[in-house]
Amino acid sequence: MNAKVRYEDVSVGQELPGKEVSVDRLALLLFGGQTMRLDFAATHWSERISRSVGLPDVIMHGPFTLGKVLEIVNGWTGDPGALLEHRIRLARPVPVPDDETGAVFRLTGTVEEKLSGNRVRVGVSAASPEGQVLATLQATVQLV
């Protein structure tokens, strides 16, 4: 592990560089994973079935949302292997509309606690452009 962030340079309350990421319908389809056959649950590809169970549209895979939210942490440390532990709470299903943008996540993150062994705990929030919280994440990261 070799994060580019030094523990001694970090303070509680410090903000991670914010990031906006989006996922369009094609990315959602590819995430099902043709070669790996990972997750083709109908709510990830069929608008008809999504609506029949009360969803507004096809929705993100939970692990895909996790991957997008972790980008703010990986971008900060420069080392995806520095993630020792992470927990995401998915506040609501994230619809992926069939338009030019798709689903948009506005990511903000804060250093919440400095731990022993050059580790820190960070909190991340993912919100829609309208400000609705889509997911929150807490992660423990190994710094140098």
């Binding site: 592990m1 070799n2 996922v23 990315a27 590819l30 995430f31 994973g33 070669t35 790996m36 056959r37 990972l38 997750d39 649950a41 709510t43 008809r48 079935i49 609506r51 029949s52 169970v53 009360g54 895979h61 939970g62 692990p63 895909f64 996790l66 991957g67 997008k68 972790l70 980008e71 990986n74 420069g78 080392d79 995806p80 292997g81 993630l83 020792l84 532990e85 992470h86 927990r87 995401i88 709470r89 998915l90 299903p93």
Partner: protein
Amino acid sequence: MPLNRAVIGRSTKSEAVLMVTEDTLRDAAAQFEEPLAAYRDAEAARALGYPEPIAPPAFASRLWFRMVWAWPMYEPDLGREPGANLLLADLHTVSHRPIRLGDRLTMTSTVADITEISRQRDIIHIQNEIATEDGEPVCSTGYKFVISHADTFDPAAGTKKEALA
């Protein structure tokens, strides 16, 4: 109909080893759309201290679908009706080291708990231990799914039964 709590504590193990190949990593990095060099390039991975390219950290949370086929969601014993809606609410990962090129992985999945939160909804907690074929622990993933029961839905038509009555 609520889930069958008798399945709490039951486990299963992946039948086949999952081999992490260059293709696996290339697909994973493309699917997550996170273009970090450490996912593809051995030199970039070595610069971070890893012997081989590594998988995106969220990749581990996909393996339950692939390695144990979303067990026990399709077990008749669980009592989940075919139309019951499944939503991931909480996902907790503990990493001992990154998944990397050349890994031969196994998974053991356990039903850790089932909690009834209303007559219509249960939360099921599934805990997965991912290790190498030789038994080296790699990471664990814990999922909490909210299952909304199909009593009020007609899975075939996808229409609320009350609406048809």
